[in-house]
Symmetry: C2
Subunit: 136 residues, 2 copies
Amino acid sequence: METKKILNDYKLKSTPCRSEVLQLLISNEHALSHSDIETKIDDSHDRVTVYRTLKSFLSKGIIHKVLDDEGITKYALCHECSKEEHHHEHVHFKCEHCGQTQCLDNVKIPDIALPQGFKSKEKNVLIQGLCNQCNN
Amino acid sequence: METKKILNDYKLKSTPCRSEVLQLLISNEHALSHSDIETKIDDSHDRVTVYRTLKSFLSKGIIHKVLDDEGITKYALCHECSKEEHHHEHVHFKCEHCGQTQCLDNVKIPDIALPQGFKSKEKNVLIQGLCNQCNN
DNA sequence: CTGTGTGCAAACACTTTGCAGGTGT
DNA sequence: ACACCTGCAAAGTGTTTGCACACAG
């Protein structure tokens, strides 16, 4: 059980709901919304429990939030983060054909010069277009 | 009445609610959420009417959506758009101290190279940090 | 055994829709 | 006069909270 080990690592108790949600996020290359997750896991898990599961994953840094262009909150694994250090300076991409959102972990956000007086602490980039599956 | 002229230009009937919302957006340099707007205009206007007003402004290209880091939808005037042509390739900035979100119209989004097969059509950048008012 | 996670019910926030009546041009 | 805008009521969706019970370590 890979998920059990991960949960232990992050000091979260291993429970069926957490394992299932985590497994889903691990095996899925796209960011998933709460409702995506709800429909893909076992019905027996309550909607509220899934919310709380995601919240606990977020607070431990196992996953991060991805906002798409319509403000829909999605979640994806933190591939580049260790427990101690977090990097989210990668680009998110939403395909307008298939609707899927993904992290382009290898595409870093360039520096952007701001006007006098502004101080940048965090950057978030969402690109929309056609993904490599839909662009033919 | 500047607002009346603008509404006419965009082929929208001039009504009290539209004028008031438009005036508010014109005189405000920050992006405003629906609830910001609701509290700042005359109580007599129904919440629903404000939603519809914003939707009509959006569809005519008078304003554009700005999403902040928490997925809150805000609205700001299109300074750079004409009726025919729309540019939104500027950076949005949210100050983590005062909470205000604004368009940095002069800060263009740099080109970002995507992996093989991806095609970019629209880019959206949100930077968080301290604005020129709060950074001292 | 103890603290944490879960399920259920309910509340809350945000946004949309249908309809009847009112208003701008 | 007519099309369009508005207000009200209601419903849909997404998310949070309180509480009693269940379960993992």
